[in-house]
Symmetry: C2
Subunit: 241 residues, 2 copies
């Protein structure tokens, strides 16, 4: 029985003021998440910081979940821009090196904002599945990573990892749509699967590091992350030069 999103003025000074207050709410809410994590985010505390009364917030967000969803979208955008910058900055490098650099950029973003990372890749706060609105903004990071593969394919620096991958018929079927959506029309099933593997491996390792699953036996997390992503780049068939 979620209350629907509150009405928002569309023109004039009212609209401008509304947008400003909304932005201010997001800013201080984001600061609270960065400091104490999403679980500890309190609407009343945010309202206090802004010298409002808690009920006033409901003119801007339907509730806590909607506020969190907005924060998730902003965080995805921040991470996406970060990843894109890394991919852009390395256009002239070898595909494998680009992959590692992009992965390291994603990692450094996450290390600096563990709570925001948890907001994106940890347990989804409302229920246990992420709200639909957050899926699309989340693809920005993936698209940046995939651009590395696309550039490599264009330049003939992408090997087909067919010899070491197993793709069943139904999986191959489901790759048909995915292949066009990520704009890699000529690439093999093995490459698609390798991309998925590299993607899940990257975030899997990062999540384990940040959530403490690797402590007690990994000492130099950054080094391991670099080696791991370099290995995944080779599995992906990305060229070294």
């Amino acid at each position: 029985m979620a209350t629907s999103t509150p009405p928002v003025p569309v023109k004039g000074a009212r609209a401008r003021a509304h947008a400003e207050v909304r932005a201010a709410i997001l800013t201080t809410a984001s600061a609270h998440v960065a400091a104490d994590g999403a679980a500890a985010l309190s609407l009343r505390a945010v309202a206090r910081d802004l010298d409002m009364v808690s009920s006033a917030l409901y003119r801007y967000f339907a509730g806590r979940d909607e506020l969190l969803t907005a924060l998730i979208i902003d965080a995805y955008d921040s991470l996406g821009a970060h990843a894109e910058a890394a991919v852009d900055a390395t256009v002239d490098d070898a595909p494998a090196a680009r992959w590692v650099d992009a992965a390291m950029a994603i990692r450094s973003w996450a290390i600096g904002r563990p709570h925001e990372y948890a907001l994106l890749y940890g347990t989804p706060v409302p229920g246990y599945a992420a709200p639909d609105d957050t899926v699309a903004p989340g693809t920005r990071v993936s698209r940046a990573l995939i651009r590395i593969v696309r550039d490599a394919a264009r330049d003939g620096r992408l090997d087909d990892p067919a010899s070491t991958t197993t793709v069943s018929a139904p999986t191959s079927e489901s790759f048909v749509l995915l292949r066009t959506e990520i704009d890699l029309p000529t690439v093999s099933d093995a490459t698609i699967l390798a991309i998925l593997l590299a993607w899940t491996q990257l975030f899997g390792l990062l999540t384990f590091e940040l959530f403490g699953q690797t402590r007690n036996f990994v000492h130099d997390d950054e080094r391991l992350f670099r080696d791991a992503t370099a290995t995944m780049a080779r599995h992906l068939g990305l060229g070294d030069h």
Copy 2:
């Protein structure tokens, strides 16, 4: 300033009754987590179900966090036993097939208990780092998976994936301790890294599936998971027969 764990009687009928009540609390708390997730776990609701008053629970657990930690440990044990059973049941199969079967067993456990899985591998609830007590029980699953590699090595059915892995000197250094701890003394750096990769890949993909990160472009999650883990088994060097 966390209140320390409450005193517990050590002998006699008193101790028995105490243990029973404690178990009952864990059982109904676990049911609540399974139904609504860890975030929604309420001490008062648990107390109501047991016809107690909420303050009575503090004789058995120092607070909500300690209750959750106990639940985490139990869940790790459940998952660990599940994985071990799968590994035991396939001793005569090919190493690669065993790996896939164990992974599928882990997945089916998770699919059936999404909230428990989130409790283990999602955002750590107190703060953003898991309490230390939960690390050791968490290794049970990993040890089960590693046994597959060890058996394969013993039987000469483990290839060295050196040709496709990159292990830097510092990472190699940190593998020295790890190698003896997982009782794979003769195995190469490349194999150790491949194990880590397979491990993070397995849980990375599973987490993405459960938290909704793969929806909209993966249709047959089970099939993909099977293909992905089979591929990782090959990267690991596990034999097919």
